[in-house]
């Protein structure tokens, strides 16, 4: 799929103005490509209509994997592969296996979830992100509207909607790829 390269950008200064603006722009029928912010704005994902992240599920599954691997490893090594009497305990001294099982649960849950996060958000050292405006990592919020995706609407009309929603600047941005 070819990536679209022409955007109209609305620049916002304030997070609360931004939240109202997203609602207004969406209700006027414009499809928002994405909103870029210097810090997490609470409630932005709701007004943009994003579904809740499923990363907690990934964390849970990886955690379960960690627990099972740890218990399997310990029972196999201590009870079946090379049983030894240590401190008069049972070969399969289950309470003694809890600490390592807990640690491996946490380890795999954390690494698995972060790995999924990296892949799903395309975070990697050699990634070349599209920077819509360098100020989005400083002090400005930018709402990007994909022109091709809103072909039903006139570009000037989109700009007007952005301005009336509280954007301090409205710019065009193109990427040549």
């Amino acid at each position: 799929m070819e990536r679209d390269t022409h955007f109209v950008l609305g620049v916002y200064e304030d997070e609360d103005v931004l939240l109202d603006a997203v609602k207004q722009v969406r209700s006027s029928g414009v499809k928002i490509h994405e909103v870029y912010s210097p810090y997490p704005v609470h409630g932005l994902e709701h007004v943009l209509g994003y579904k809740r992240s499923r990363l907690p599920i990934a964390a849970f599954l990886f955690g379960m994997l960690g627990t099972s691997l740890a218990l399997t490893m310990q029972f196999y090594m201590m009870k079946f592969d090379w049983p030894m009497i240590i401190g008069g305990k049972d070969y399969a001294a289950f309470p003694d296996f809890i600490p390592v099982s807990f640690e491996m649960t946490v380890l795999l849950a954390a690494f698995g979830m972060v790995g999924v996060f990296m892949v799903s958000s395309n975070l990697k050292p050699w990634a070349q992100p599209r920077i819509f405006d360098v100020r989005i990592t400083d002090d400005k919020h930018v709402m990007a509207i994909d022109i091709a995706n809103n072909s039903a609407m006139d570009q000037e009309k989109i700009k007007e909607i952005l301005k009336s929603s509280g954007a301090t600047e409205v710019n065009n941005k193109s990427f040549d790829e």
């Binding site: 994405e34 909103v35 810090y39 932005l44 994902e45 640690e103 050292p125 990592t137 400083d138 002090d139």
Partner: protein, 454 residues
């Protein structure tokens, strides 16, 4: 919209705007290092170099270089290990537990505290590794690897092995938690930079684009990592205390150890955070971000954990008497009045009495007093571990085996080496990484800054 209580003190003073936050923090990374930074860094690197002589000697000759004897087989090495791990507890506590409790004041100190955690855990891990004597074979003793030494696996019944898993998990999860938080800030530096710096910070920022969807996932990841790290922090020092508590040495064989060690760890960790933050805010002119309010809150944590530690000392003593076990009673009487009485009373003074001074508002809002007391607390916590370890061992079951421990130059040198390592890493971090989490400070700026309160 968030409502700010007028009773709460502002978290950021000086009427800072979003751009000011970016500027004040990035400036440290972008500018030439100051003379004071160079002096501090060179001092730390010098200590590292000097200490490495002792480290190399120990690796070359073996741990016979240390002052250990057949009665006291654990002394400074394990004391230093437990001490550094304890210090390494504040960072993740601040970022994870305070995140779950929605304590917004954590935002300006969590970055540096987590960095401190990671460096302290590196220093801690040095000691068990060196103590192996032949650390190049250590992987076989510490990890369940197939080998040809008799196909023996590691002993999963041993708390020392649990420690391997606990410390390495704690280290790697803390590192990931810290790095995830750094990504958006690296992107900020990337977008301000040109040339080589842009390339380096661009790679470090992993192509962060600040999209709302990425932020949503980022928030979700932070919350789950905090939820995982909270029991992890508590488990690490619990398992460290098992090294002692599961043994049958009078003075070690105590069920109170896990909570007592965890409280002590938080106590010493916050003291070290204060020591470093008071220097950092001064050198980097970050007084508007790390305010007196932050220092006071950390001092309150120190009063609470210090009091828990004090109660634990007294409880231990009481239970030794109440148990009616002669060996246990002797171990404790010997601690307070035996040949190591000076270590015991240093511990009591530094850890039980001195933090109580923070009940006075004048003292807990004084930079000088806080700085001195933070050092005192860490000295006290070192003595706590020394007292627990050495005084419990030095009177063996047979009076003919009774002994004293005298550190050699190599003991002192290896300890100095870890100090050098810790501060070298911390100064490098302070220069090349954003010391304050800009994105998180910005997220609380609107609701909790002085400007917003007006």
């Amino acid at each position: 919209m968030q409502v700010t209580s007028s009773v709460r003190e502002p978290l950021v003073t000086g009427g800072k705007s979003y751009h000011d936050v970016t500027h004040d923090v990035s400036r440290q990374v972008e500018g030439k290092p100051s003379l004071s930074w160079f002096l501090a860094f060179l001092t730390a690197a010098g200590v590292l170099g000097l200490g490495s002589i002792a480290l190399i000697a120990t690796l070359w000759e073996g741990i016979g270089m240390w002052g250990l004897n057949k009665t006291i087989g654990w002394a400074w090495d394990i004391t230093n290990f437990v001490w550094w791990v304890g210090i390494g507890h504040a960072g993740t506590l601040i970022s994870a537990v305070l995140l779950l409790f929605r304590q917004k004041w954590r935002t300006s100190i969590n970055r540096a505290a987590e960095a401190m955690t990671i460096f302290a855990v590196i220093c801690a891990a040095m000691f068990p590794v060196i103590h192996m004597g032949r650390p190049w074979l250590g992987a076989y003793w510490a990890l369940p690897l197939p080998n040809t030494f008799g196909s023996l696996w590691v002993n999963f019944n041993s708390p020392l092995l649990w420690d391997v898993f606990a410390i390495s998990t704690y280290f790697s999860v803390s590192l990931v938690f810290w790095y995830i938080g750094l990504i958006p800030d690296f992107a900020t530096i990337r977008d301000r930079a040109t040339g080589l710096r842009k390339t380096i910070y661009g790679a470090l920022s992993f192509g962060w684009d600040g999209a709302a969807k990425t932020w949503m996932r980022y928030e979700s990841v932070s919350l789950i990592l905090a939820g995982l790290a909270t029991p992890l922090v508590l488990s690490v020092h619990t398992i460290v205390s098992f090294d002692f508590a599961t043994s049958v040495i009078p003075g070690w064989h105590t069920t109170i150890f896990p909570p007592y060690f965890v409280a002590g760890a938080i106590f010493s960790g916050f003291a070290m955070v204060l020591t470093l933050m008071i220097i950092t805010r001064k050198v980097f002119k970050l007084e508007d971000y790390i305010t007196m309010g932050h220092i006071e809150l950390m001092n309150i944590v120190i009063i609470i954990t210090g009091s828990i530690v004090g109660i634990a000392y007294i409880t231990e003593f009481f239970i030794a008497w109440y148990s009616g076990v002669a060996a246990e009673q002797y171990a404790f009487i010997n601690r307070a009045t035996g040949p190591y009485w000076w270590a015991y009373w240093s511990m009591m003074t530094c850890n039980v009495i001195s933090p109580q001074l923070f009940w006075f508002k004048k003292i807990r809002t004084s930079i000088v007093a806080t700085f001195i007391l933070s050092l005192v607390v860490n000295i006290g916590m070192w003595f706590e571990r020394f007292v627990i370890i050495v005084t419990s061992l030095h009177r063996d079951y047979l009076p003919s085996s009774w002994a004293m421990f005298y550190p050699t130059w190599a003991d002192i040198g290896v300890y100095l080496f870890t100090f050098g390592l810790f501060f070298t890493l911390f100064f490098l971090f302070a220069k090349f990484f954003p010391v304050i989490n800009m994105a998180e400070v910005k997220s609380v700026l609107k609701s909790s800054s002085e400007k917003a309160a007006k």
